[in-house]
């Protein structure tokens, strides 16, 4: 196991290095740069500014400069916001994380419950309705669901706030603050959960159906175990095992932010910040964020692979 780990870790480093260069080049080659978007500048001033920002240097030189700084922990200043990239992350990323963590938990929980029940009662009314609703949630564009919910719950009924993370102008602290955030979080989390339920529920249901057809379940039943014991102790555990590997993939998603949700609900998250920064070609911010996600992704896949082994000891790594 340890040789496997060492080997994987060294691959990881190689991959990250290659990825950093690839990603840097991609952003640098994207048409337009930070200066071209500003229509108020004359062509000479544009040239001057490119000099000041170092954008006129060759790609390799820019990459090596960035890499050198990054290895020292200096990810530079955002071109648009004039603040250190890491500071900006800190300000936005935890908001996204909050939404992601809660909705992921809810998604998994609900998906397991519904998927298992639907599999158990396969072909029943419950199963059919559940599947239809799932498909529906998957094929409706998310901004519609968002707009729809806002219209109903916020505008028409005034039950929930229409957006933002806290009530404007409030000075709440401690519990009052937490409650405010929870109120504001309800709709975004609801939409995120609805959207994510679809595929996960199907996956669990499919696994559960397979497991329930297995011989050892028959044996368990034949042994006279209660149905509940059969379901939860034997079937569920085996059905869930393959899904454990999905956990590794949730890692980058937890910090990646959700652009659509954040935009609709005005949630101060990293997702919509990324989109804006991309439009502006704010390279330091883009590089910092993408590399951060890259690291999480690579760790995530390693985690997945290790969990495969944990889930099914027959698997040879």
């Amino acid at each position: 196991m340890s040789t496997y780990l060492i080997r994987r870790l060294s691959y990881m480093i190689l991959i990250l290095l290659a990825a950093s260069f690839l990603i840097f080049s991609l952003y640098a080659l994207t048409p337009g740069d930070f200066i071209s978007g500003n229509i108020k500048l004359t062509p000479e001033r544009k040239a001057e500014l490119r000099e000041i920002y170092g954008l006129s240097k060759p790609l390799m030189e820019r990459y090596l400069t960035w890499m050198g700084n990054a290895l020292h922990g200096d990810f530079g200043y955002s071109l648009a916001q004039q603040k250190p990239v890491l500071t900006i992350f800190n300000e936005y990323i935890w908001n996204s994380f909050l939404l992601a963590v809660v909705s992921t938990f809810l998604t998994w929980f609900i998906a397991v419950v519904i998927g298992v029940i639907a599999a158990y009662k396969q072909y029943s009314w419950f199963d059919t309705i559940v599947m239809l609703v799932i498909f529906g949630a998957m094929s409706i564009p998310s901004f519609f669901i968002g707009l729809f919910l806002i219209k109903i719950f916020a505008v028409d009924f005034h039950w929930l706030p229409p957006g933002g993370m806290t009530t404007t102008g409030s000075n709440a602290t401690g519990w009052a603050y937490a409650l405010e955030v929870i109120r504001h979080m309800t709709l975004p989390v609801a939409v995120m959960t609805l959207l994510g339920l679809g595929s996960l529920t199907r996956y669990f249901r499919s696994n559960m159906i397979d497991v329930l057809k297995q011989d050892y379940i028959r044996t368990a039943r034949a042994k006279g175990l209660t149905e509940r014991k059969v379901l939860f102790t034997h079937a569920l555990r085996n059905a869930l095992l393959p899904a454990i590997t999905l956990v590794g993939f949730e890692l980058p998603a937890l910090f990646g932010g959700s652009l659509i949700i954040e935009s609709i609900f005005n949630w101060p998250g990293i997702g919509q910040l990324y989109m804006k920064s991309f439009g502006l070609r704010d390279y330091p911010l883009l590089m910092g964020f993408t590399m951060f996600l890259a690291v999480l992704t690579v760790i995530g896949t390693l985690l997945s692979d290790i969990l495969y082994r944990v889930a099914d000891p027959r698997v040879k790594l």
Partner: protein, 589 residues
């Protein structure tokens, strides 16, 4: 599932773009304006810009056309309870609140409340006193002298003197200055030497006494008054660590501004709100409403206005928007026209387009009424000169409106030698008449392409549209020169000469008309408004005939505000900032 993180993640990312960019452009009615898509216009030299939150600068057409709230009892509870605070939505302030050193127009909105310029302008762009109570220009128009008011203080209580003004002008000429202020393009005497490090100060700036300062330019420039008359930075606060050649330290001061405006910064929560309180050291009348908040809000602000979370919002002046606003009952609706114009940039280096007749034919042959007025449900009007309709220089005398006239367009093309050829497309010397159009993705671009395709087909021109993913990609392609027509709109224009900049600073390649250049210079040589009006009239008539670019449209917008606010006015050039201190809250119970 895993797909979520790869294909679906990219899908969601891209889908989000849909919402973001289209919502942005819908709100202002013109997705091509750089003030909206992408969000970075940079601050203007008059220290403020992008007035009302989404569009570029605004002008009230007086009270004419204003619709009063019908039924104030419909006011949402959230708004009623807010008796000492006004909340306005702002798309995306990022925290860079130091004027001249910010990149985004929204940050400019914030600093417009925190700072007051030396010279303000009224709704017609005529200069009026700000921090400076009077000023003179020398005979030859090259030297300006400003007289500051007595007893001016910064928000931290320290006094404001001519030293601070000198410091501001000096640091803007520093070689490491990376903002987009125009002060360093004015050609102040000695600024080149300072930039290159050969001098330790700028020769042309002279301090006569703590209240008086004068600056000498190399060449006369009437527009310089408002450029020089921008915000003033405190030397003690912003100049403490200043060493010639290095302005990097300014970044660390961007979230803790010290200014001279009616409000001071209380708290900034990134992505959520910017909180202000009345500035007790403000030189003018104390603001009537003690608290003000800019709430970060993207895209559609309808839900915020409807629930009372926000007191003021601006919308495109479509009939439907107006109807919906009326139905709310508790908002006053005021129409305004932003100080900007839309145009099609023409590639004058292509053979076919060098001919004036072809450009005119393309204008006659384009149904601008359908595209910019009808399809926009009345939220626009047609432009024929490089000026916004609210400017003091605007005129329609002697201007050809180029009404849609297919026959006239056809005959012009015939005259120019383009005869109908195979497949209905005109040809000349074996070459087909094709127009390669570039647009950036937005609802308006879609409309333009759909209508233009039909119009030009009838005219015998092959129309080849191309859409680019965002504004930046579009500009990059234009810089490469591979286009015939591109849709653009100007940034906010203050002085009439601003609207002509693109013909002079090298952006529009291939247009050189000595008569125009001469007139342009003349227009800047005098500060007498009547004289300048006549000069600009000539220029407009000239450009209207020559069409170095094809003028397209003006936007029309409305702003709607909670009727419990009184004395509300919006300046075309400063947005809310100029009149905000006057806004008071009516008692509504």
């Amino acid at each position: 599932m895993k797909k979520r993180t790869t294909v679906s993640a990219s899908i969601s990312i891209l889908l989000a773009g849909t919402l973001l960019l289209s919502a942005c452009s819908d709100n202002s009615g013109n997705g091509n304006s750089a003030a909206n898509s992408g969000g970075a216009t940079g601050s203007t030299n008059t220290a403020v810009n992008a007035g009302a939150d989404n569009a570029g600068g605004a002008s009230t057409d007086g009270a004419a056309g204003a619709i009063q709230a019908a039924d104030l009892s419909k006011l949402p509870a959230a708004a009623k309870q807010r008796t000492d605070t006004i909340i306005v939505g702002l798309t995306d302030p990022s925290g860079a609140f130091t004027p001249y050193f910010q990149q985004s127009g929204y940050d400019g909105n914030v600093s417009s409340l925190l700072y007051t310029p030396l010279v303000l302008v009224n709704d017609k762009a005529e200069p009026i006193p700000g921090l400076a109570e009077k000023w003179e220009a020398s005979e030859d128009g090259r030297t300006y002298t400003f007289h500051l008011r007595q007893g001016l203080k910064f928000s931290d209580g320290s006094p404001l003197t001519a030293e601070d003004v000198a410091f501001t002008w000096t640091i803007l000429n520093d070689k490491s200055y990376d903002g987009d202020s125009q002060v360093n393009t004015l050609g102040i005497k000695g600024s080149d030497a300072y930039k290159e490090g050969k001098a330790a100060s700028i020769e042309g700036i002279k301090i006569a006494d703590p209240q008086t300062i004068s600056v000498t330019l190399e060449k006369a420039n009437a527009a310089a008054l408002t450029t020089l008359g921008g915000d003033v930075l405190s030397k003690a606060y912003y100049g403490k660590d200043y060493k010639q050649g290095d302005t990097g330290y300014m970044k660390s001061l961007s979230t803790t501004p010290v200014g001279t405006g009616p409000y001071k910064l209380v708290k900034f929560t990134p992505g959520q709100e910017v909180r202000f309180a009345a500035n007790e050291n403000y030189y003018g009348d104390k603001p009537k409403t003690p608290n003000f908040i800019y709430k970060t809000s993207e895209g559609d602000t309808w839900q915020y206005l409807e629930t009372g979370e926000v007191d003021y919002a601006s919308f495109s002046a479509t009939q439907e928007n107006i109807d919906k606003l009326k139905s709310l009952g508790f908002v006053n609706i005021v129409p305004y026209t932003p100080s900007t114009y839309g145009y099609l940039q023409v590639n004058l280096e292509h053979e076919a387009l060098k001919d004036k007749k072809v450009r005119q034919a393309l204008t006659y042959g384009l149904d601008r009424q359908s595209i910019y007025v009808d399809a926009a449900q009345g939220a626009g009007s047609i432009a024929n000169i490089p000026s916004s309709p609210i400017s003091w220089a605007y005129t329609e005398e002697g201007i050809n409106p180029y009404k849609y006239d297919l026959d006239k367009a056809k005959s012009l093309l015939d005259e120019a030698g383009w005869k109908e050829g195979a497949g209905g497309i005109r040809e000349k010397d074996g070459k087909k008449l094709t127009i390669h159009y570039l647009g950036s993705k937005s609802k308006n671009t879609d409309i333009f392409i759909a209508v233009a395709k039909e119009n030009y087909q009838a005219l015998g021109v092959e129309f080849q549209p191309e859409i680019f993913a965002d504004f930046n990609s579009l500009v990059s392609k234009v810089e490469g020169g591979d286009y015939d027509l591109v849709s653009f709109s100007t940034p906010m224009l203050t002085d009439p000469s601003d609207g002509l900049m693109q013909f002079v600073d090298g952006e529009v390649k291939g247009y050189s008309n000595p008569k125009f250049t001469e007139l342009y210079k003349k227009g800047l040589e005098t500060t007498d408004i009547e004289q300048r009006k006549a000069i600009y009239k000539e220029i407009y008539q000239l450009l209207n005939d020559e069409l170095p670019v094809i003028f397209t449209s003006y936007k029309k917008s409305v702003y709607a505000y909670n009727a419990r606010i009184e004395n509300l006015a919006v300046s075309p050039f400063y947005g809310l900032a100029a009149s905000l201190p006057q806004w008071s809250l009516k008692d509504v119970q």
